[in-house]
């Protein structure tokens, strides 16, 4: 059974603005936040073993565990957050993973890297996003640490600032994505290494529909992407669309709230 790491949204809120979705004037409704997160937790618990890390005060975005780091086998590579607002999360995640038996492998401090948010395996390739949050140099370091092929793709739309906001690989070698979030070279590189890509329409991409958790044939994604759901169902996937409005206010949804432990057994 796949294992996941989630963090309860006890301290979650829009307390600063570090992406175009965030507005401190448009805060999240606490009750709805709790309800939406619990729904996600319940849904994922059906197919996976879900671990919880204790939330910390003053770290409202700790709820987005995908950005904690990248786990492959029993190795955990912690993130180096670009924004000081999130840098405080790193020691809590590293300590928790270490306490749970993972070997913690640190990247050089000067390389920004935001974990699974910018590093997703598709086929036998680790796709890595760069520019807004992660540095391309971090990809080289990770490829060396894991001994894998890392394809670096440049993100060009600040609304899709992490790779997992615009790209979701599927276990059958395909995936779905919002191509306009990448430059032409990134689009070509992805097309060359993926088969059967589903292009997500702009209006559905804006509902963070690429920010989905895929567990074998089950996909948990935010509401608002009926076209995509139809296409995925035609390919034999079971889709569960959940309301994620309060997390989208911070620029995150299902996948951002989830970290695989591990994402892959082997790179």
């Amino acid at each position: 059974m796949r294992e996941l790491l989630l963090c309860p949204p006890d301290y979650y809120g829009i307390e600063y603005e570090i992406n175009p979705w965030m507005s401190v004037a448009r805060g999240a409704e606490t009750a709805i936040v709790q309800e939406q997160w619990k729904q996600l937790h319940a849904r994922l618990s059906r197919f996976c073993k879900v671990h919880l890390i204790a939330p910390q005060p003053q770290l409202p975005d700790m709820v987005f565990t995908a950005n904690a780091g990248l786990t492959v086998g029993r190795r955990f590579i912690p993130s180096n957050f670009r924004h000081k607002e999130r840098a405080g999360e790193q020691p809590f995640f590293a300590k928790w993973m270490e306490q749970h038996g993972y070997e913690v492998d640190w990247l050089p401090e000067k390389l920004y890297f935001e974990g699974e948010g910018d590093a997703l395996f598709g086929n036998d390739v680790l796709f890595c996003g760069y520019k807004f949050r992660s540095d391309i140099q971090s990809h080289r370091a990770i490829a060396e640490m894991l001994g894998c092929l890392a394809i670096s793709v440049e993100l060009v739309d600040p609304r899709f600032y992490h790779l997992d906001t615009c790209f979701c690989p599927l276990p059958d070698g395909g995936g779905f994505w919002f191509p306009n979030a990448f430059d032409e070279y990134g689009q070509r590189a992805i097309r060359e290494h993926m088969t059967d890509l589903i292009d997500v329409a702009p209006e559905e991409a804006m509902h963070f529909s690429c920010n989905a958790v895929v567990i074998d044939r089950d996909i948990v994604l935010p509401e608002g992407a009926p076209q995509l759901v139809t296409e995925l169902q035609e390919r034999g996937y079971r889709c569960q669309a959940l309301p994620m409005t309060e997390f989208i206010k911070a620029g995150g949804a299902c996948k951002c709230l989830t970290m695989f432990m591990p994402q892959r057994e082997k790179a």
Binding site: Q137, H139, A143, C148, I151, S152
Partner: protein, 409 residues
Amino acid sequence: MFSETIELRGHIIDSLILPKVLDQILTNGGNFKITEVQIGRKRADQSFARIEVSTETGEALDELILRLRQQGAEVLERANAQVAAAPADGVFPPEFYVTTNQQTFVRFGGKEIEVTPAIINSAIAVDRKRGRARAIKFFDVKKGDEIVVGHQGIRVVPVQRATTHTDPFQFINNIVDAEEPKSAIIREIAEELRRVRGARGKIAVVAGPAIVRTGGGGHLVRLIEGGCIHRLFAGNAFAAYDVEHAFFGTSLGLDPDVAIPRGGHENHLRAINAIREVGGIAAAVREKVLTSGIMHACVEHDVDIVLIGAVGDEGPIPGVTTDVIECEKILRTKLRDVTHVMLLATLRYSLALGAFLTNNVKTVCVDIDPPAVERAVERQPLQSIGLVTDVEPFLRELADCLSRSKVSW
């Protein structure tokens, strides 16, 4: 040209980072040269590329490098230049770097400073606080000055050969010898002078006495009257021959118009004496003692006259600088804004001036002696035209070309 070397590492082929970087260099007006590539053999192997990136300006390079850094390019750190203190006034430290006349940069603290002026056979003095690097001669150096030593951290950028036929200085065969036709080349030179004048360039003539002795003085006067000469460099003898011709119709006692000796050396010395008596060339023109000739035309048309002395000079004529170090300082100052130089029938002064010419100054050298032309143009192979010919027909044809021009001088 400004350049940096960058390195790319990682899965730069599969990620299309290498083609992206090369495209970005070209679309941002730069150029590149791949100096090394290693392609990974196995799937997880990383690749490597070392690329020299160059642009026209330093600002464009900074901007481009900033973009390329976002794509993971690492700028290769070049070594800084080494300096040593000058041990005494007028003495450079051992191993001091000797300049060429090519554009040169020295690197300090990761930044390149252009050496100015780009003149040959000098040392480089560095003022790191002000970010300045100067090419200096022996007479400039003071004890304790920081002087560049060795070759580390120095980059020399040779003049590039033009790729389009817009610059006669880069397309005409360097030296046109005595047996080759010259009219077409002289027309090209006339065209260039006309263009330069329109572009507000500064044209200097370095004149040898043979101009007067061969009867070419009148043609040079036509060029001066036409306003296409801004500065005239010559020795004492040239001025003396010219005023002798103006006073007596002879140069060193020979009438160049009829080639008959008249008056011998007496005329030469009497002419010098007349100018000394009145206090100088400008005064002689002002007081209407000197009413014709090249010197007269220069004064009348505000052409700056720079006269340099030598051992054996008769007189000298007032205004001739006889101190050698002073001469060098004057040459450096007076050549600073010059864009074109015509070296006419004087090897001695052509070589003396050549030491102060930067590599972007275009030169035309005319002399009847082939080795003299060769020596004058060898330092600026892409910026000079040499003609092996008597100077009088050259000047006649050049002045004719320019006077036929529809464009008013």
